[in-house]
Symmetry: C2
Subunit: 188 residues, 2 copies
């Protein structure tokens, strides 16, 4: 299980509330990990009782008060020891691929719309990632590379490049899928 570790990393990058974490998981962290606010709140409470994180009540004027979490020393140690143990290869769960193979026993043409929908969603994700890259890393307004270079930014960037590569690969594959489905549809 690594949700705890993903939260630790996010809190080390910047302390925040459960709500804020949930939003980060929808955005920047979203391209390699997903979690709902329920999960996050539950895990945060467990981490708090384990002493991995500190809490600070932050009163806010124009919106409900929040609890700001930050990483405590035991949390940092837990992350460090996790970083030093080997992990499993990521495992894939790709519903769409199940559908594509299943289409052989149904109507392949009926899948075209669905695949187009996924294509569009991935296009939007790619656009979002590229905008983020321009803003934070390669654009004119991006913080210039400091000397000594910032390892954190470099590593965030290489992970983002992974997200971008994944989306590009997926889009190319979906084009291949669409071409195959259309060929099969026209051949009957």
């Amino acid at each position: 299980m690594a949700l705890e570790h993903a939260i630790l990393v996010s809190l080390l990058e910047k302390p925040g509330s459960g709500y804020e974490l949930a939003r980060r998981f929808e955005r920047s962290i979203g391209y390699f990990w997903t979690a709902t606010h329920q999960q996050i709140y539950r895990v945060l409470r467990r981490m708090e009782t384990d002493g991995w994180v500190d809490v600070r009540e932050v009163p806010q004027a124009d919106r409900p008060d929040k609890k700001e979490y930050s990483v405590a020393e035991p949390g940092r140690a837990a992350l460090s020891s996790w970083l030093h143990e080997p992990i499993e290869l990521e495992s894939v769960r790709h519903d769409l691929a199940v559908k594509i193979r299943g289409a052989a026993f149904d109507d392949p043409a009926a899948l075209i719309r669905e695949v187009e929908r996924h294509h569009q969603a991935h296009t939007e994700r790619l656009t979002r990632y590229l905008a983020g890259e321009l803003r934070d890393f390669t654009g004119p307004d991006a913080p210039t590379a400091p000397v000594p270079p910032d390892a954190g930014r470099e590593l965030q960037h290489v992970v983002l490049r992974g997200g971008i590569a994944y989306e590009r690969m997926t889009l190319a594959w979906l084009d291949d899928v669409l071409a195959t489905l259309r060929r099969l549809a026209s051949e009957r």
Copy 2:
């Protein structure tokens, strides 16, 4: 939830026992879905009580007897209706990316070995996929394209191409990660 549907697809392609399904999930189906034998047996029993699959006791001489499952009409109908409803975008859980961003708060150089290990594992997967493609689809011994073309084979092939594209993209990204980690390690 789609494990049921993945099992239905696999049983439509070829009936088999729970044990055989578990092995298929380690191999060809493995590049878009994973499942342990526990999960498979449990779901098979549920599908049997729901009437989605038929069972046939197959006595075997040189090994324990087995139960061969095949898809019944209600199962086929359930698959068909699932194929016609939209599904969520696949969600990613990439532990390695968490580690990479976490390395900023630890020692980036210590990650190099781990990333190399992943690189090697993905190389092996790619080799396996390519061998499978050669054997089943593009090699000289592969069944020649029949007329009319076999939609099932075409769709299996396009899914396999997706697996191959994923592995190639991942390997290229891991090279990028390694270059970044090595640069950071040498710069201190």
